[in-house]
């Protein structure tokens, strides 16, 4: 009655992804699989689901109830998927069909497997959505994926996976897109599934706090060469410890600007009474939905400011408004006293998803040098100067100059994020907006990126606006923290002050959730 993988190897072309791995998951057990990004964790889960691409060559067996899944034919697999084993995918932004309402997408599994009527299926879907933390789930049934935030979409994916109470659940990074409160919620829910309903869970993550909070029975560490090492909770903490050491070694005490920014300096960024409102039809304009409401703050030169809040609170909208990608309904955003149209090159951005924020058909040199067109015409560079500048930037972020002729698919997630940073740096902007820039990365790449950012900040005295829901990161990095809830700034203060004495109840909730996750 368990799911076991026996002597499984996988290769694509000449590249060996997994080498002779074996493990098993029993009902009610939580197995954590950790490893650096790009080591084949997700491939393991996809292999169990039998959803690998045809280019993969595999040997070995994957046994469920004495059945070798590798030898199962399609009709059998359709019965097994979703009912016996289901999976939560990593990318909530693309994992949902954009043309179907989320109610229908959750209900579909029930329709396919149980021959339930559509109404019954929707009813169960509604209940499942409520279980994964949608308040007023029935209002959400008719919504489309583009109307939800990343965290909400992730919860929809989770609802889809557990709607049929599967016996085994493969969760591939289920919390990367979520804030601390929702992470705690998902964590509790997964634990309840395993304890109360006896679901066997294979949890793939690079979020070690989350992994240890799941109080897993068995820990597997997948090395980059595709060999699996197994251990217990202690070895996880050792693996964690190893990384924590490297993280803290990379964080010099001086990560924060050593001197408090001079208040007499004019601010780099000034947001005043910003309002973003969405008018939705057919509901009338009497009840407009405010994604951002009356937000004012400023950032001074060289300052690192973090913007935190739960998913769907308007962080991303505010960030997009600052970058001029969203028009404000009221209020103003100014850089160095000028509106965004005139100061485009003083601000650059690094986005959350290192996979989707590059044009796959361009080489790295073109990608990195692209912002240069913002320079004035008389300062434009010839191609040789551009090439030198690009190489300089690549070396600055820890890549080699020869990488400039490669395409983006040749790089791992962490390397791509470095390329994003090189692209943001090439204009020497005054402010870089980082939207969850490290959430898709494993601990090691994350610490590298953060130390890189810290060096660059002190080197060029750049300011950062850090949009994040990772509070432990914020506490280590930021000078000042802005807390956002339901479109408004509810609290603002220096990092030390805010973490020691949060005044708003919502901030306290966030901090409590973070601490209980860290304690495990």
């Amino acid at each position: 009655m368990s799911l076991s993988v026996e002597h499984f190897s996988l290769s694509i072309g000449k590249k060996m992804i997994l080498q002779d791995i074996s493990f098993s998951v029993s009902p009610g057990e939580v197995v954590v699989l950790v490893g650096e990004s790009g080591c084949g964790k997700s491939m393991t889960a996809l292999a169990i689901m039998r959803l690998l691409s045809e280019a993969c060559v595999e040997t070995g067996r994957i046994i469920l109830d004495g059945n070798d899944l590798c030898r199962c034919r399609d009709p059998e697999l359709f019965r097994i998927r979703g009912r016996d084993i289901s999976m939560i995918f990593q990318e909530p932004m693309t994992a949902l069909n954009p043309l179907m309402t989320i109610g229908n997408q959750v209900a579909e599994a029930l329709l396919v497997h149980c021959q339930a009527s559509h109404i019954d299926a929707l009813h169960i879907a509604c209940k499942t959505l409520a279980e994964v933390g949608f308040q007023g789930a029935s209002d959400f049934l008719g919504r489309y994926p583009h109307e939800l935030s990343g965290g909400q979409r992730q919860r929809v994916c989770m609802a889809m996976a557990i709607a049929l109470c599967p016996r085994f659940l493969l969760a591939d990074e289920p919390t990367t897109a979520l804030d601390a409160v929702s992470r705690l919620h998902i964590c509790k829910h997964l634990r309840a599934l395993s304890v109360e309903q006896g679901v066997g869970i294979l949890l793939i993550t690079h979020d070690l706090g989350f992994a240890s909070a799941m109080s897993s029975d068995q820990v597997l560490i997948l090395r980059t060469d595709g060999i699996l090492e197994s251990g217990t909770k202690q070895s996880l903490s050792m693996f964690m410890h190893h990384d924590c050491v490297s993280v803290s070694a990379d964080f010099p005490a001086s990560f924060r600007s050593s001197l408090p920014p001079d208040p007499s300096l004019p601010p780099v960024l000034e947001v005043r009474d910003a309002v973003c409102e969405y008018v939705s039809f057919p509901s009338s304009s009497l009840f407009p939905f405010f994604a951002v409401k009356d937000v004012s703050f400023s950032i001074r030169k060289g300052e690192i400011v973090a913007l935190v809040g739960e998913s769907g609170c308007g962080k991303s909208t505010l960030m997009r408004a600052i970058l001029g990608l969203e028009t404000l309904s009221a209020g103003s955003v100014r850089f160095d006293g000028a509106p965004i149209d005139l100061s485009r090159r003083k601000v650059q951005a690094v986005f959350q998803d290192p996979y989707d924020s590059f044009n796959p058909r361009h080489r790295v040199d073109r990608l990195v040098s692209e912002p240069l067109f913002l320079l004035d015409r008389d300062r434009s560079l010839c191609s040789a100067e551009r090439a030198i500048l690009v190489e300089e930037m690549l070396e600055l972020v820890g890549l080699s100059a020869s990488d400039s002729r490669k395409y983006i698919h040749e790089f791992s997630g962490g390397q791509r994020q470095r390329i994003s940073i090189a692209r943001a740096l090439i204009l020497r902007p005054l402010l870089i907006v980082l939207d969850e820039a490290t959430s898709a990365l494993d601990v090691r790449s994350r610490s590298h990126i953060l130390s890189l950012l810290s060096r660059l900040s002190s080197h060029f005295s750049m300011a950062y606006l850090l949009v994040s829901h990772d509070l432990s990161l914020v506490s280590e990095v930021a000078d000042r923290v802005l807390v956002m809830k339901a479109g408004r700034l509810v609290e603002e203060g220096t990092t030390a002050q805010l973490f020691a004495q949060p005044s708003h109840p919502y901030t306290r909730d966030l901090l409590d959730a973070m601490r209980s996750l860290d304690r495990g």
Partner: protein
């Protein structure tokens, strides 16, 4: 959705008004006297004067435009100069050839091109897939008139299954009409169904490589249902736009095929009217075709929005 509909409907009216202005002023107020142009070199002063009066050339252009629009709205397209019959009578006859032909060709290309594309998307890199892609290449590159002549040679002359040309008229019944329109429709649809099959194949493969398709499979949705409900629905949106364009091009673009098969269609009417300098007919037919194209575009936009909630939102 209702809001979207009205928005699009208003913009449809605007495009119609704009198109009518362009058509009117290009044909009517270009340098030279339209009446003299229509009558040719040997016309006497009196005949030109009479025609000028008939064309309301003695009043200002703006006023003439409104007279024209006013009579269009009551269904009066004017009197053809060469045939001396109302233009609407001419158009009416031709519409019952051109519309069925366009529709026929479109149906053929949908019912053959669509399944071919779906099939090709699924048997990529197999023998069948290669055959389908090869045939499509041929369809795109073979000239229409040559293919039409080939069809006539095989099916009319050698096999005598279908008439080689001409149109019996609707009074002869449904079947003879369908029979006489069959070869022209096949000739028209060959290149179009090839384009369609290529678009279907490409966008379906694209949709099947998306994460949501994988998510559907992971839920235990059978492959056929996943293709039908998840991949095809997403793939069909670019397809609808292509179909709209094809219908528009079929309406007036069938001149060559109409000539090969001696069909009295709209394309031939425009061609004849142009050679006979009958500007009144040209104007009427061009306006009618523009109207049809704008309405088709409107329908395409509505159906895309009905399928894709994101499009609805963008307009609102």
């Amino acid at each position: 959705m209702l809001h979207f509909f009205w928005w699009r409907f208003i913009s449809l009216l605007f495009s119609l008004a704009f198109a009518s202005i362009v058509i009117f002023f290009i044909l009517d107020t270009l340098p030279g006297d339209p009446a003299a142009f229509m009558l040719g070199l040997n016309a006497t002063e009196e005949t030109i004067g009479a025609l000028r009066e008939k064309l309301h050339l003695d009043v200002s252009a703006v006023r003439r435009y409104f007279i024209w629009i006013g009579s269009l709205l009551t269904g009066d397209f004017g009197m053809s100069h060469t045939y001396q019959v109302p233009v609407w009578e001419l158009i009416k006859e031709r519409i019952f050839v051109s519309f069925p032909l366009a529709f026929y060709a479109l149906l053929l290309s949908i019912f053959i091109g669509f399944p071919l594309g779906v099939l090709a998307a699924q048997c990529n890199q197999t023998f069948l897939g290669t055959v389908i892609i090869g045939t499509n290449q041929l369809g795109v590159s073979v000239p229409e008139f040559w293919f039409a002549i080939l069809l006539v040679f095989i099916f009319s002359i050698l096999l005598s299954w279908f008439p080689s040309g001409g149109f019996p008229g609707w009074s002869e019944g449904f079947l003879p009409v369908m029979k006489s329109l069959f070869l022209p429709a096949v000739a028209l649809s060959f290149s179009r169904l090839s384009v369609l099959a290529r678009v279907v194949r490409f966008s379906l493969q694209e949709a099947m490589s998306q994460d949501y398709f994988r998510t559907a499979l992971a839920k235990g949705v059978p492959r056929s249902r996943a293709i039908w409900y998840h991949a095809l629905r997403n793939a069909i949106i670019p397809l609808i736009s292509i179909l709209g364009l094809q219908f528009s091009s079929l309406l007036a673009g069938a001149i060559v095929i109409e000539n090969v098969f001696f069909l009295p269609g709209l394309g031939r009417l425009v061609f004849q009217a142009v050679t006979q300098r009958d500007l009144i007919v040209v104007r009427g037919v061009v306006m009618l075709i523009t109207f049809a194209v704008i309405v088709v575009t409107f329908l395409v936009e509505l159906s895309c929005a009905a399928l894709d909630p994101r499009l609805r939102k963008r307009i609102c």
